[in-house]
C-alpha cells in the first residue's frame, strides 16, 4: 500500500509538471510567432490552441494535486 502511495505521488508530480509545461506552451503560442510557425498553427487557430492547452494544463495540475494530497492524507 505504501508503494502505491509513493507511485501515486510520483505520477501526481509528473501530471503537475506536464500541466505546468503545457500551460507554458500555451503562453508561448500566444507570445511567440516562431513557436506558432514550428507547430504549424495559423493565426485563426491561435486562440483555439491556447484554449485546448490551458484546459489540459489546468486539468493536469489539479489531477496531479488530487493524487498527491489524496494518497498523502490517506497513506
Amino acid at each position: 500500500m505504501v508503494r502505491i502511495g509513493k507511485a501515486a505521488s510520483i505520477i501526481g508530480g509528473i501530471q503537475c509538471g506536464l500541466g505546468g509545461l503545457v500551460s507554458v506552451v500555451a503562453f508561448l503560442i500566444y507570445a511567440s510567432s516562431s513557436i506558432r510557425d514550428v507547430l504549424a498553427i495559423t493565426l485563426e487557430e491561435v486562440y483555439l490552441h491556447i484554449f485546448l492547452f490551458l484546459v489540459f494544463g489546468i486539468f493536469s495540475i489539479l489531477s496531479g494535486l488530487l493524487l498527491i494530497y489524496g494518497e498523502g492524507s490517506e497513506g
Binding site: A7, G12, L18, A40, Y47, F51, V55, G70
Partner: protein, 489 residues
C-alpha cells in the same frame, strides 16, 4: 459563517466616487477614436444608448443592494435567489473580472506613465502600483474611500476644464450636426464597442457591507453614478465633435489628448494624460476592493478557503482576500498581456449583468414580501431589457473573448466540483477523465506514427510529439487506474 467585523464607514460621497472612479478608466481615453469612425458624430447617441442599457441593470443593482446589503454584490444577490452553482459562477466571474480589470488598468497606467517618464519598466511599474493599492486597501476602507474621493475629484476637475475650455473655444464653430458614418448599424456597433466604458459602477454593490445607511445610500449612489456617467461621456463627446471631425480621430492613440492639444496646446496633452493616469488608479483601487469583498463573501459561504474570511485585527479588512487576489493580479500584470485580461474582464462583467437581472426577477417571485427600500420602476420591463441588452452585447464580443469566457467557466466548474462535491465522487470523476485523456493521447500517438495526421512541418517535432503523447498516455492510464481503484478507501 456569520458575517461580522466589516465597518460601515463609506458615506454617500465616497460610494458615489467608488462608482464613478471605478467606471471611468484609461479605456475612455483610447476607445473614442475607433468608436467615432463607426458612428460619426452620432457617437453621442451611442453614448446615451449605452448609458440607458447600463441604467436598466443598475436599477436592479439598486433594488438588490438596498434589500440585501451584505458583502459580495452580484454574488450575494445570486446566492439569495438562485443558489448552488449559478451563484458560485456569478461570484467566480465577478472575482476573476475584477482581478483582470485591476491588472488591465495597472498595465494601462504604466503605459500612460511611460509617456511622461519614458525610462520606466512597464511590468514592474504595474506590479508596484498593485502593491501600493493593496496596502491602501488593507489599511482600511476609510483610507480606500478617501483616496478614491480625492483622485476622482481631481480627475473630474481636469475633465471639467477640458469641457468648459472646449465649449468656450468652439462657441462660434457653427451648429452641431448628427451624422452616422456607418448608418444605424454603425451606431449599434459603436454602442457595443464602447459599452466597456460604462463597466465598473457595480463596485458600489460589492462594497455595500461597508456603506453607511445602506437603505438610502446604496440605491442613490448606484443610480446617481450611472446618470452622472451618461452626462460626463455625452458632454465630452459633444466637445470633441465641436472641435474636430470624426474622420480626424482615425489612428489617434489617444483621441482625447489629440483634441485637447488642438485647443489647449501641450498643456492639453499633459492634463489629459494626467486624467488618464488618475482614471487608471481609481479603477485599480475600486477593483482591488471589489475582488477582495467577493472572495470574502465566497469564503463566508464555504466556496473559497476559510482564510479569505479572516479580517485584519486592527483595520477590519479582509487581509488574506486582498493579498491572494493581488498576487494573482500582479502576476497577470507582470505578463503585460493587455488584450487577454481586457477580454476576460469584459466577459465576466457582462455575465454578471445577466445574473443580477435574473436574481432580481427570481427574488421578486420567490420572496415577494422581503423589505425593499427601493423598487425598480416598470417591473419586469427593466430587468428583461437589462438581460436582452446584455445578450446583445455578448453577440458583439470577439470570438476570442467568448473562448476565454468558456475557459474561465470550465475552471470555475472544476473548482466548484472539488469544493462542494464529496471527495470520493471527485476522485472517481478525475480518474475517469484521466483514462479518457490516456486513450486520446494513445490514439493521437498512433495517428502521428502512422502519418495519418500532420502535427508539424518538421519531422523531428512530429517524432517528439508522438513520444510525448505516448508518455502522457501511460502517465494518465496509471493515474486513472489509481484514482478509480482507490476512491472508496
Amino acid at each position: 459563517m456569520e458575517e461580522n467585523g466589516l465597518k460601515r464607514e463609506l458615506g454617500l460621497l465616497q460610494a458615489l466616487m467608488m462608482g464613478i472612479g471605478g467606471t471611468i478608466s484609461a479605456g475612455v481615453f483610447v476607445t473614442l477614436g475607433h468608436a467615432a469612425t463607426l458612428a460619426g458624430t452620432s457617437l453621442i447617441i451611442a453614448m446615451i444608448l449605452c448609458g440607458i442599457i447600463n441604467f436598466f441593470t443598475m436599477l436592479s443593482y439598486a433594488e438588490l443592494g438596498a434589500a440585501i446589503p451584505s458583502a459580495g454584490g452580484e454574488y450575494t444577490y445570486a446566492k439569495a435567489s438562485l443558489g448552488g452553482f449559478l451563484s458560485f459562477a456569478t461570484g467566480w466571474f465577478e472575482w476573476i473580472s475584477n482581478m483582470f480589470y485591476a491588472a488591465f488598468c495597472s498595465v494601462g497606467f504604466a503605459y500612460l506613465l511611460s509617456y511622461v517618464i519614458p525610462a520606466i519598466n512597464i511590468p514592474l511599474t504595474a506590479v508596484a502600483t498593485i502593491i501600493v493599492f493593496s496596502v491602501i486597501n488593507i489599511r482600511g476602507v476609510k483610507e480606500t474611500g478617501l483616496t478614491q474621493t480625492v483622485l476622482v475629484i481631481i480627475m473630474l476637475g481636469i475633465l471639467g476644464t477640458f469641457v468648459l475650455w472646449g465649449l468656450f473655444i468652439s462657441q462660434n464653430a457653427g451648429p452641431f450636426e448628427l451624422k452616422a458614418l456607418g448608418g444605424f448599424f454603425g451606431v449599434l456597433k459603436a454602442t457595443a464597442f464602447i459599452f466597456v466604458i460604462y463597466l465598473g459602477g457595480e463596485a458600489i454593490g460589492v462594497a455595500q457591507a461597508e456603506i453607511k445607511n445602506p437603505e438610502k445610500n446604496i440605491p442613490q449612489a448606484i443610480l446617481l453614478s450611472s446618470l452622472a456617467l451618461i452626462l460626463i461621456y455625452t458632454i465630452i463627446a459633444y466637445v470633441i465633435f465641436k472641435i474636430v471631425r470624426p474622420e480626424d480621430l482615425v489612428g489617434q492613440a489617444s483621441p482625447l489628448a489629440y483634441v485637447a492639444e488642438k485647443f489647449m496646446g501641450p498643456l492639453g496633452i499633459g492634463l489629459i494624460t494626467l486624467a488618464g493616469i488618475i482614471a487608471s488608479l481609481t479603477s485599480i483601487n475600486t477593483s482591488i476592493m471589489a475582488h477582495s469583498r467577493v472572495a470574502y463573501a465566497l469564503a463566508r459561504d464555504g466556496y473559497f478557503p476559510k482564510s479569505f474570511f479572516i479580517l485584519h485585527r486592527v483595520y477590519s479588512t479582509p487581509v488574506i482576500a486582498v493579498l491572494a487576489g493581488s498576487i494573482i493580479t500582479a502576476a497577470l500584470a507582470a505578463t503585460g498581456i493587455v488584450n487577454f485580461v481586457a477580454y476576460a474582464s469584459d466577459f465576466g462583467f457582462i455575465v454578471g449583468f445577466i445574473f443580477v437581472n435574473l436574481s432580481l426577477m427570481k427574488l421578486r417571485r420567490d420572496q415577494p414580501n422581503i423589505y425593499r427600500p427601493f423598487k425598480v420602476p416598470l417591473y419586469p420591463l427593466t430587468p428583461i431589457l437589462g438581460i436582452v441588452t446584455s445578450l446583445f452585447l455578448v453577440l458583439f464580443l470577439e470570438p476570442s473573448t467568448l473562448l476565454i469566457g468558456v475557459e474561465l467557466f470550465i475552471l470555475g466548474l472544476i473548482i466548484y466540483y472539488i469544493r462542494m462535491v464529496p471527495y470520493n465522487q471527485v476522485r472517481l470523476a478525475v480518474g475517469g477523465m484521466n483514462l479518457g485523456v490516456s486513450a486520446f493521447s494513445g490514439l493521437l500517438a498512433y495517428l502521428i506514427i502512422s502519418n495519418s495526421i500532420s502535427i508539424s512541418k518538421s519531422h523531428g517535432i512530429a517524432l517528439l510529439s508522438s513520444v510525448v503523447a505516448i508518455f502522457v498516455s501511460v502517465t494518465y492510464l496509471l493515474a486513472g487506474v489509481i484514482n478509480v481503484i482507490r476512491n472508496n478507501r
